[in-house]
Subunit: 541 residues, 2 copies
Amino acid sequence: MNAYVYGYGPEGKERLIVVDLGVTFPDMDTSPGVDVIMADTAWLEANAKRIEAIFITHAHEDHIGALAHLWPKLKKTVYARKFTARIGALKLEEAGLPTDALKVVEPRPKLIEAGPFKVQFVPLSHSIPESSALIIDTPAGRIVHTGDFKLDGAPIVGEPFDPLVWHEIAHEGAGVKVLTCDSTNVFTPQPGRSESTLAEPLKELIAGRKGMVVATTFASNVARLKTLAEAGRAAGRSVCLMGRAMRRMVSAAEETGVLTGFPGTVSPEDAADIPRENLMLIVTGSQGERRAATAQLSRGKYLGISMKEGDSFLFSSRTIPGNERDVIRIMNAFSEMGVDVIDDRGGLYHVSGHANRPDLEAVHDLLRPKMLIPMHGEHRHLREHAKIGSEKGIASEIATNGTMLDLTGTVPKVVEYIETGRTYLDGNVLIGALDGVVRDRIRMALNGHVLITVIIDEDDLPLGEAWVELMGLPERGRSGASLAQLIEDELSGFLEHAPDKVIANDDKMDEAPRRAARQVAMEEIGKKPEVTVVVSRLLAD
Amino acid sequence: MNAYVYGYGPEGKERLIVVDLGVTFPDMDTSPGVDVIMADTAWLEANAKRIEAIFITHAHEDHIGALAHLWPKLKKTVYARKFTARIGALKLEEAGLPTDALKVVEPRPKLIEAGPFKVQFVPLSHSIPESSALIIDTPAGRIVHTGDFKLDGAPIVGEPFDPLVWHEIAHEGAGVKVLTCDSTNVFTPQPGRSESTLAEPLKELIAGRKGMVVATTFASNVARLKTLAEAGRAAGRSVCLMGRAMRRMVSAAEETGVLTGFPGTVSPEDAADIPRENLMLIVTGSQGERRAATAQLSRGKYLGISMKEGDSFLFSSRTIPGNERDVIRIMNAFSEMGVDVIDDRGGLYHVSGHANRPDLEAVHDLLRPKMLIPMHGEHRHLREHAKIGSEKGIASEIATNGTMLDLTGTVPKVVEYIETGRTYLDGNVLIGALDGVVRDRIRMALNGHVLITVIIDEDDLPLGEAWVELMGLPERGRSGASLAQLIEDELSGFLEHAPDKVIANDDKMDEAPRRAARQVAMEEIGKKPEVTVVVSRLLAD
């Protein structure tokens, strides 16, 4: 959920630019029921008047996914290149928001002036079209913010990496003061491979298959989609793109001119009539997403098509850590159908979109920055990247979420920690990660939920017995008797003997039944559930 | 959660033996709040009279972990080798169960007769002492049930792999009819490496470190513990074992004589006084388990010791798929402390305990079974293993959970699917996976929980207003008003206009308020919560 802020000016009055507004995805362990997660922008909102503009480096969800959710809180001009802006516009339109704040920018030498900042977009390869580094010039020096990138001399889609342009960037004026740099693949020791190395292995693979061939990759990796489609066509197969996100990405890429020469495809309706040995599907859901085409195919039919014995399913993708369980579940479902599952184990059918360690070092050497701020990675990636910088004599600092660095000196200096955190989109509501909503969900999931209702009459006397309902708890425990009944019995005893002032006291009538219920449950089933007590007090007429 | 059954005799009256009673572990996605998961033994319980005995191949949790939970349902003699039996006895004792059903068995040539079965334990290497294959002789032929194994000529602890013994087993009588075989590493193309190859790299690694060195691996891998401890001692460090499971495993291994020559260790109390550069800890929790030593060290102090900048933490282990998130969280916490985290990325500091593909093929060739039943793996592993068998002309069949195979002919024949499933230990209660308890927990976690209480008086009229409590839901949604209040208002409207016969009808008084609450929530917050309606009907005196 990338979101970076650069500022220039007198302390506390710096003019600001925001780079990227991304999301990350929830999981059952930490954020059950949540739809997406984004940065908490409270500080930016409080300082909205100081924000000059928003820049989006590329159209991956972790960089642009929060645009429609957070733009209404900031309402600033958004600069992006053509394809990225198109994806951003689709998001704003879907949310019923105006798109006129979105400005399409040409790459360097085009210069955007935003307060004290002069910003250029410089094309770099990545696993989506038009990923760009930002050259941010300030009166205090030049910052290169790489965005997500790899060094690819033949990227299939987009411009090849051009060392001459970067040499120029490194030698203009006083050179590069700060490099804010992608760290994702810092632990990968071999140099990265070009997207174009996949064409031959994929052609061979698909040509050798008998039944239907289905391949999945990220919908936004249109270069890969093209390579896959071409390999399918080369094997004499009709190609069908399945999954809304994929069709949308290809359309956006074609409409904005970043993708050309994509082989002709057939519609899912037509695909259903084509003999399976002549058909190739390219589908969404490489990370096991429940509602995407891959997961649906693993559960049965999708748009009239189902997998059969002798078909092949290719994951032309890497499983992002944390998604293994979902992906493996799908692989096993295909295995049960008799489908051959091919993954990237051999390294032949996928390349990463991020620069590996030697590539990062090449960039350090090319740009010779005074300071290195690693970004885009877990803490261990940032730390490793900073270590590489330090070993080369480049002053490095790890900036965890909320860290404000002073970059005007000769070394990065931590000057402040902004209180920041995560905002959850839950249904259609934005909630704070620490609001307690999700904590309560996790507790109910782990411990179950006991509901107790007690009616107190006009004279502060219990009316009838307490009533207990269980949710997410076994009906019976150790004794074999009904757990709800046992709690009710305990509560009857309590109500019978409770002094009047306890019955009259709302806090005590909440606390005591809760404690009693948890104690009975502990004895009976060995766990302490969450308890909600509802005391209804009848009022005298 | 391994549990296999072999039977011999007239159809429906076969005498049975059970091999292994293991557990698997829950996760938030599918089994929140559950403690451990084991096989549903309903069919075995219904046929308990036909069971001759239980055999345990080795003391890993996925093979012995359910013993104390399921033995009381079966109450049969349990055969295991010395160390395995010791671990089993500890489990039974902890559960307050007798241990006299547990019989210690010497390995082959010792023969156990159990009804029509003659069973021998044959030592094989694995990542725990005394892992054994079972040679199961029946009047219909010989079965080799490998258990978990690798081919290791120098396993540090236990007997090296002896091809002569296996040649003998393959050539006695009519040879091997059925091979039931570990499939875990069928996708690993290179031959397995010996445990003993780790000694040198570990020594070098630890000798080169400056601060405290902490290493984690599975507690039961006592060979690895010994190698780690020796590497620590060689570097002049005092070695301390931390974590109850680890001390227990080493004690059990030493007491039963399977582990000798383990270097002297210091207690955690003494360790706290040793300068960190002279100290090495070997700790539990390689899979990120929340309560184990590794996770505790990542959160702060554990037994008086905490990690510091310049220390090293070694994962001498592989992360089991599904545990990545927890392990990565710990790695990043260490990174934030300035601790160098070393994992098995380079392949130097861990070897697997399972046979790789070429090793499996070697076993096929050595034993020349008529049939191959792949076990221990996901479906895709079993399928791949069966494919290897078929390519060699060995008749293979994939047996998913509940499959009953007839192995008396020349090819395995599926004769029945037993209705089976999963049993959850939840607190101290065994519940069925499909009882609905866990389903309700998942629903509360995803959707939140709304509680509605309504009081109906003696004349079937609503007494006061409905009362709404929320758990795991945002307080306010789209309109900015209180969600609970909005639902209460909606319910007031409903109660006011509901016909008498609706108010008098329990089902309708459950259904209508639920529907109303879900509809209001959908409009306000964009999601439909779980709803519990409690209607209290006052009775006429």
